[in-house]
């Protein structure tokens, strides 16, 4: 018999707050995290807005308690993972089978960019300390070592759905009774590599993004990290704290349409949402809030909207894209938005979709515009879609 999986702790660091409480405060004030580029050295400064975490590497390193020479991706991840673990407050963790499943998209790329600057002109140049931790797995390993987790760790990288996949992979490890506790989510720092990558695709909005708006112009890049601590039913019974909720459904399906573009009929997102619902045993009408992938690109919002229509029409639950606050944090977005989804259940929150003005003409629904709390939120769906047609939906449910 498979165990249920409970959420015992959450941690996040994003452009709208260095911890969960600060993020919630920004949501309530409807304050977005986008601004001029402040921390990365790029020709796009003053030209493209981004949602950076408002701390330098030195400041992050102080909070994280490790060297500032570490990749920013590791620094962000360690801060959020530590928060989540502290929040979960699990007694005698070392006696339990504990795993760390983390996602990211470009590993220590922020450091590799420094290395390559010298390496490109002369292959004997470039400081090796800036490149030897390039692999995605190095980020996970460095965080796990700091957390003292040895029993099980791995890294998932499926572009922008990475950390949603990490979360449900972690949940499966608990369901299969392989682990008692899993910290899962993801981290990604803003890098020149990804900023320029998305810029070449011409999907960056020069202003603050407007997800699901008829006149949307693209996405804003963000950065951050988000982790949830999941525990088995057996451990949950022994814990002296109110657990947040359970992970009741999940699915990964592939759009199989194009490497970067998504299908016009929303096949991948539709299958992911539908199969996640089937897994949870819920009906579309049971969902009280959808945290949309909602990047703000013409393509994503069309595809996702079509999938939502196919599954929910005519009973649309409140929905919004919190990327209108945090920007698109790529491999961290699934983790960060899972944290927001969990908090939506705890506090009865509907997050507003900032800057939304005009309903998309294809659809008869519009995202939520106002911050609401103390609503009845029993089931939340969180969507994360990535390059390569990688579509994942998670469903969190009140206990």
């Amino acid at each position: 018999m498979y165990s249920e999986v409970f959420i015992a702790g959450v941690g996040a660091i994003t452009a709208i707050g260095n911890n969960v409480a600060e993020c919630l405060c920004s949501f309530e004030k409807e304050q977005a995290g986008m601004a001029d580029i402040a921390y990365i050295d790029t020709v796009h400064r003053h030209n493209i807005p981004v949602a950076e975490v408002k701390l330098s590497n030195n400041e992050l390193a102080k909070i994280a308690g490790i060297s500032a020479a570490t990749s920013r991706t590791t620094l962000l991840g360690l801060i959020a993972a530590k928060q989540a673990l502290k929040d979960a407050d699990i007694a005698d963790l070392s006696s339990l089978r504990t795993g760390f499943i983390s996602a990211n998209t470009v590993g220590g790329m922020d450091k590799s960019e420094f290395f390559f600057k010298d390496f490109v002109t002369d292959n004997s140049k470039g400081k090796l300390k800036n490149v030897f931790d390039h692999e995605c797995g190095c980020v996970t390993e460095a965080i796990a070592d700091q957390l003292g987790i040895k029993d099980f760790m791995t890294t998932i990288s499926t572009a922008c759905s990475s950390s949603a996949n990490a979360i449900f992979y972690g949940a499966r490890l608990i369901k299969n009774d392989l682990l008692d506790v899993v910290i899962a989510g993801g981290t990604d720092a803003l890098t020149k590599f990804t900023l320029n990558g998305f810029n070449t695709l011409m999907i960056l909005d020069k202003k603050y993004c407007k997800p699901f708006d008829e006149n949307r112009q693209g996405l804003n890049m963000g950065e951050g990290a988000g982790y949830v601590v999941m525990v088995s039913a057996k451990l949950a019974k022994k814990m002296n704290k109110a657990l947040y909720c359970k992970l009741s459904g999940y699915n990964n399906s592939n759009d199989a349409y194009h490497q970067t573009a998504s299908s016009s009929d929303g096949t991948g997102p539709y299958l992911a949402m539908k199969r996640a619902l089937e897994k949870s045993g819920l009906k579309p009408t049971d969902i009280d809030y959808i945290n949309l992938h909602g990047t703000g690109t013409s393509n994503n919002d069309n595809t996702e909207g079509m999938a939502v229509k196919r599954l929910f029409d005519p009973n649309y639950p409140p929905m919004s894209s919190t990327k209108s606050f945090t920007g698109h944090t790529l491999g961290a977005s699934g983790g960060i938005e899972a944290v927001f989804s969990v908090l939506a259940i705890r506090h009865g929150i509907i997050y507003p979709n900032l800057r939304f003005e005009t309903q998309m003409h294809e659809f008869s629904f519009a995202p939520a515009k106002k911050f609401l709390k103390d609503q009845t939120i029993n089931h939340v769906m969180s969507n994360s879609f990535g390059f390569g047609g990688n579509c994942t939906s998670l469903i969190f449910s009140r206990i």
Binding site: S112, N254, T260, G386
Partner: protein, 354 residues
């Protein structure tokens, strides 16, 4: 419930792809870098697309397609890949352009193909496969992580005919950097005499190896995959010994029940210390087999070892070139693979005749 390797396909620096012969015509390389032998891709990929595809994507698509063909399967139930470095060629290409062109007027193609899940995604795209698709990128256990996921999916009855692959490419840049980091020998060496020299460093390699996993028994299956285990930073050799003994005991087996032990010896003194110690302790009576002189060292090379194990069992044959010492049993029934990567990540895979 039992899990089986239904079919496999291997692109490596040896003649392993679509070969009737089993490692008899061995490729010798002098140097410290082994390059995969590339098949004629036009059979597997639309020629119009080949030109724009990087080495790793082509290797991934060809090996996965051949694996499906061998397994008489059109549509896998899930696609899972393991790759430590991912699309290195495209990553380096975009990064280099970014620096050279100072972030202006960059072409997007390399970036589009740079994500780590590109191979798994391209397989899904080619097959129009809408099922579970995942990619693990955890250093020396990237492939093992993918395999572990596949076994879990089978157990959960979530999917059957799961396509699992271990893929990594070596590029000029990564070879230069890894050489500077001291991974490889400082002078050229023949891969066929890799274990005759005792010095620091190994030889680098690459490859693309895919497997089709199923829980349905069939006479056509290559082998049974009894189980696997990974562990991180063991305290000492005694702990490794205990892990191996405990792992086998889980399946009611002892070391003496294992006909062949494939180890990850790579010719580097520091790396091989553990294997040498074990060859005098728990493996002292075991028939030992090496493989890294054939495919080179790379983070997902254990996929090559699994291909080797499955083929030795199915073909009832142990190629001469892999034997460490005289191998007693010529038709192995049970094969244990023990590999470690930089002495941090250790993995065990246990394969048996069906």
């Amino acid at each position: 419930m039992k899990q089986y390797i239904r079919s496999s396909a291997c692109i490596s620096p040896q003649k392993t792809f679509r070969q009737v012969n089993f490692l008899t015509d061995v490729m010798e390389y002098n140097g410290t870098r082994l390059r995969a032998i590339e098949p004629d891709y036009t059979e597997f990929i639309d020629p119009k697309l080949i030109r724009r595809m990087s080495h790793i994507i082509k290797m991934g698509l060809a090996a996965s397609q051949e694996c499906l063909n061998e397994g008489n399967t059109n549509m896998p139930g899930a696609i899972i890949t393991g790759t430590a470095y991912g699309s290195l060629g495209d990553t380096v290409s975009f990064l280099t352009r970014l620096i050279e062109l100072n972030e202006e007027m960059l072409p997007p193609t390399a970036f589009i193909h740079s994500t780590h899940n590109t191979v798994a995604a391209q397989i899904a795209l080619m097959l129009k496969c809408h099922q579970y698709n995942n990619t693990f990128v955890h250093k020396g256990i990237s492939f093992e992580s993918a395999l572990f996921d596949a076994l879990m999916l089978l157990k959960e009855k979530e999917a059957d005919n799961i396509l699992v692959g271990g893929i990594d490419e070596m590029t000029d840049a990564s070879f230069t950097i890894l050489t500077r980091l001291g991974l490889y020998k400082r002078w050229p060496v023949s891969n066929l005499s890799l274990f005759k020299t005792s010095s620091n460093g190994t030889i680098g390699g690459e490859g693309s190896v895919f497997f089709l996993l199923t829980d349905r028994p069939s006479a056509d299956n290559l082998a049974e995959l009894i189980g696997m285990l990974t562990f991180y930073k063991p305290n000492d050799t005694a702990e490794i010994e205990l892990k191996i003994i405990t792992f086998l005991a889980l399946y009611g087996l002892q070391i003496d029940d294992i006909d062949i032990v494939i180890t990850g010896k790579n010719g580097d003194l520091r790396n091989d210390k553990v294997y040498n110690q074990l060859s005098h302790s728990i493996f002292r009576n075991s028939s030992l087999v090496n493989y890294k002189h054939l495919c080179g060292e790379y983070p997902t090379s254990s996929a090559f070892a699994l291909w080797l194990a499955a083929n030795m069992i199915k073909r009832e044959e142990v190629p001469l070139v892999v034997k460490e010492i005289s191998v007693k049993k010529i038709n192995p029934n049970k094969v244990l693979i023990y590999n470690h990567y930089l002495n941090k990540y250790h993995s065990l895979m246990l394969v048996s005749a069906c």
